[in-house]
């Protein structure tokens, strides 16, 4: 598939990359229909957050169609049109159960790096450098979304794709996390 990759400070390129696969039981794969550019993408592009590696796929505000679901996914179905929060949250740790999704204990697979930087590792964030878990982003044809039941929300019929991808909507789940998780 095609994806927009970070190649170095202020250097981006569209590359052919492998398609994502289901890696954990709660994963879903989303075929990206629209992916917006956030102001914080600029921090990554400009090297302000120094945890990017060559080849990292950018993008964390997006919507699309679910094309594959892991064996533990219950709420989300193949074919659903979903908007996805950029913060990855498990829905089960103490932080998630007290609705502090951006502090999720279980969604950042390489937490020691940010522990060292900030004293505590926050949640993983899709397409947001190796300080936020090293997830591949949404400026691509497909993206893997872990804990799909927690982070993805079906878009009601009659809403146009472009409207739902406008920055305010994805920024909301990014800011205060998925509300219907509980």
């Amino acid at each position: 598939m095609k994806a927009l990759c970070w190649e170095g400070v202020r250097k981006l390129a569209v590359r052919d990359v492998p398609e994502p696969t289901i890696r954990a039981a709660g994963d879903i794969i989303v075929k990206v229909r629209a992916s917006s550019v956030c102001g914080s993408d600029l921090h990554l592009i400009n090297g302000y957050l120094p945890a990017m590696r060559e080849g990292d796929i950018l993008g964390h505000e997006f919507m699309g169609e679910v094309v594959e679901t892991g064996p533990d996914v219950r709420r989300i179905k193949i074919g659903d049109r979903v908007v996805v929060g950029s913060v990855v949250a498990c829905g089960a740790c103490w932080y998630c159960r007290t609705e502090q999704y951006s502090l999720c204990d279980n969604s950042n697979p390489q937490p020691v790096f940010s522990e060292k930087l900030w004293g505590h590792a926050p949640a993983g964030i899709l397409g947001y450098s190796h300080a936020a878990g090293g997830y591949s982003g949404s400026h691509a044809e497909y993206i893997r979304v872990p804990f799909g039941d927690v982070g993805a929300f079906t878009v009601p019929e009659g809403c146009r794709t472009t409207r739902w991808c406008s920055p305010p909507t994805p920024c909301r789940p990014a800011g205060w996390g998925p509300t219907s998780a509980a």
């Binding site: 598939m1 994806a3 990759c5 190649e7 390129a13 590359r15 990359v17 492998p18 398609e19 994502p20 890696r23 954990a24 039981a25 709660g26 590696r53 060559e54 080849g55 990292d56 796929i57 533990d72 990855v88 498990c90 829905g91 089960a92 740790c93 103490w94 159960r97 204990d105 279980n106 969604s107 697979p109 390489q110 937490p111 020691v112 790096f113 522990e115 060292k116 993983g124 190796h130 878990g133 090293g134 997830y135 591949s136 691509a140 893997r144 872990p146 804990f147």
Partner: protein, 212 residues
């Protein structure tokens, strides 16, 4: 200033910087050294699981869940009442195999001893209710023995029991709370195999640093 004078200044600054960085790294490495007790290295690590103690104990006794959770990581086979055979799969390839003896010391307390394996190792785990009803603390103590040569070899092969213990605790917590453990290594990227290898090395180094 002449250009050769400038070179001297720059050279001096570079040397001072290099010395400073070297000293910082050395200090950090010293701080990272685990305590020693009668020839054993000893570390204590803990993690809080957002589940009652019985649920945490239940996780260990549910063989099917344990197997599914450990699938990518290691296979565990029960040899008899308190002996297990464990084959760990190394993410870099090449399985490390060891046999361990597990003993249940009481409710929520168990200990283990590696009977055959590359490093002499023994450990203890205790489950304690966390304050304010926040679930259960898993408190672990790990002891291992390694001579100077072993230690050097260990550093070269990047085997760090402390690091292994910390990531094991994180995985166990995630398994109990969510039933899965996330990994992003080798997810889609525009990296060449060579760049991916370099990224792996950096990921590992950043992980080893950690909290002193």
């Amino acid at each position: 200033m002449t250009s050769s004078g400038m070179r001297w200044v720059l050279g001096g600054a570079a040397t001072v910087t290099a010395l400073g960085v070297g000293r910082m790294v050395a200090r950090r490495r010293r701080r990272h050294q685990p305590d020693r007790e009668g020839g054993w290295y000893v570390v204590h690590r803990g993690i809080t699981v957002n589940r009652p103690r019985d649920a945490v104990i239940g996780f260990w006794t549910g063989q099917e869940r344990l197997d599914r959770g450990l699938a990518e990581w290691a296979t565990l086979e029960r040899l008899d009442d308190n002996r297990w055979r464990c084959v760990a799969s190394d993410p870099a390839g090449g399985g490390t195999e060891w046999r361990a003896e597990l003993t249940v010391d009481g409710p929520g307390r168990l200990s283990w001893r590696v009977t055959e394996g590359p490093v002499a190792e023994r450990g203890r785990v205790e489950l304690v209710p966390a304050p304010q009803g926040r679930g259960t603390e898993i408190r672990a103590e790990l002891r291992w023995r390694s001579g100077r040569v072993r230690q050097l070899l260990g550093l070269a092969s990047r085997h760090d029991p402390d690091l292994a213990l910390r990531s094991a605790l994180r995985r166990i917590k995630s398994l109990i709370e969510t039933g899965q453990v996330l990994d992003t290594r080798h997810d889609p990227s525009g990296r060449s195999p060579k760049q991916e290898q370099a990224t792996d090395r950096i990921r590992e180094r950043l992980t080893v640093g950690g909290r002193p």
